[in-house]
Amino acid sequence: MVAAAPAALRRGAPYWLAGLGAMLRFDLVSSREWLAVLFIVQVLMGAGMAIIYGFYLGDMPVQAATFVATGAPTLAVIPLGMTLSPQLVASRKIEGTYDFVWSLPVPRAMAALSSFVIFTALAIPGFVITLLIAWWRYDLALAVSWWVVPAVLLTSLMSASVGFAMGHAIANPAITGVLTNLVIFVALMFSPIAFPIENFPGWLAAAHRVLPFWHMANVVRASLARGLVSDVWVSYLVLGGWTVGAWAAAAWAVGRRR
């Protein structure tokens, strides 16, 4: 189909596009056994946590329930890009297939792009299902706007990028494993995703103005409900910063291995 004579294709846009197509196919096929598990993990983490927080809090006022319900889709995005994507890279390192993947005759930027595309796209069904379940569970009047599209795309692209950079920049897969578990722990228990940042002690709130978790929740929440988030553009900027920073780190880590 696309495959023309190899020598002619070694540069230029068609070569890059063909490389991207091939890597997308390669990544999808090699993770096909994982897809169902990924989806379940996402929904458990998002919708499951939305329900669990409700049990812990007991009878919630509408405001608190809206916070939990609009935080849940963000929780569903985090495990995919920030933990499963680096763990996939780590498991390639453990299995010894990591160098093989880099030996494939495609530009490395396309291999990275393929990972971003796949993990961004895979986050969407979990996001939607979680939102629907949380909505149904708490019976809220949400105001879903078109901003949900850039919000979900940016949050999942950002976490896919950070996860990719983590997986590649950290040499030891065991450390990647520990870090990803830490991310889950911090995101679920110590992040202002399902709770207002006002509940947090000053130093932790200050840390969360730099970390991406609160900003992820902000852009998503602003697109789902009115009046809960102010200055959402700051959050878009911070998330954009994290994405670009992750790309730079990934470029360094991937280029270093040449």
Partner: protein
């Protein structure tokens, strides 16, 4: 050591002395083979227990007294049982995957001592996390705790039942992957869908009713009754359900180990 180590022979192969000697050997065996895991587990237990207690303040902003009381006492139960119910089956699944499982059962000790050795190891791993979580809760929240002697049997029975249910699960299930998947779901069930960290009224009615017959709620009730006054009712029922689970778990373990012997 020399006092315990009698010369091996026919005379020692039965009786309480032999059994006790084997039990000590198995405790030493478990502790030595787990020494790295042991330290890491105790640290994780301490961090997650204390973390849970502290995270509650972030959930609520201003924590209601009853919620603080439930989480502070519930976390103790979770630290006690998650080793036996989650880590234990995973370790046994790993032994099966690595093919060292049969070797362990070929050791010349009564199998009851192997089981009790594991329960003892669980106690060593669980108690520090439990103590730290309680300490953090007392410092952070203004709790009305009244510790009574009933705490001792409650903790021991909870730990024993949790460990033996996990043990039965791991020995009865053939496929290690299934064991790991089930234990992952169990964490979720324990933390999120059991009336351990919050009152049963906050669960949907059918789930609360189901929990009267599962071991998790009785574990929480018995331990909580040892720490508080007037929060838990119908303690006898809890002890009965918990005891029944302990006996059943021992039965299943015995049957599946006997089968393999």
């Amino acid at each position: 050591m020399t006092a315990v180590a009698a010369p091996p022979g026919a005379a020692l192969r039965s009786g309480i002395g032999y059994w006790w000697h084997s039990y000590l050997m198995m405790v030493r065996w478990e502790m030595t083979s787990l020494r790295v895991v042991l330290v890491i587990t105790i640290m994780i237990q301490i961090l997650s227990g204390a973390g849970f207690v502290l995270a509650l303040g972030l959930f609520f902003g201003r924590v209601p007294g009853r919620a603080a009381l439930f989480v502070s006492t519930g976390v103790l139960v979770i630290t006690l049982v998650q080793i036996g119910l989650v880590l234990g089956p995973q370790l046994i699944a790993q032994q099966k995957a690595e093919k060292t499982y049969d070797f362990l059962w070929s050791l010349p000790v009564p199998r009851t001592t192997a089981a009790l050795g594991w329960v003892t190891t669980n106690l060593v791993m669980g108690l520090p996390g439990m103590a730290v979580a309680l300490g953090v809760a007392l410092l952070r929240y203004d709790l009305d705790l009244r510790v009574s002697w009933a705490l001792v049997p409650a903790v021991l029975l909870t730990l024993f039942t949790g460990t033996m249910v996990g043990y039965a699960l791991a020995h009865a299930l053939g496929n290690p992957m299934v064991t790991v998947a089930i234990t992952q779901l169990l964490i979720f069930l324990i933390i999120g869908f059991s009336p351990i960290n919050f009152p049963a009224e906050q669960l949907p009615g059918w789930l609360a009713a189901l929990h009267r017959w599962l071991p998790l709620a009785p574990m929480a009730d018995t331990v909580r009754a040892g720490l508080t006054y007037g929060v838990v009712e119908d303690l006898t029922g809890s002890y009965l359900v918990l005891g029944a689970w302990a006996v059943a778990a021992c039965g299943v373990t015995g049957a599946s180990l006997g089968r393999k012997g």
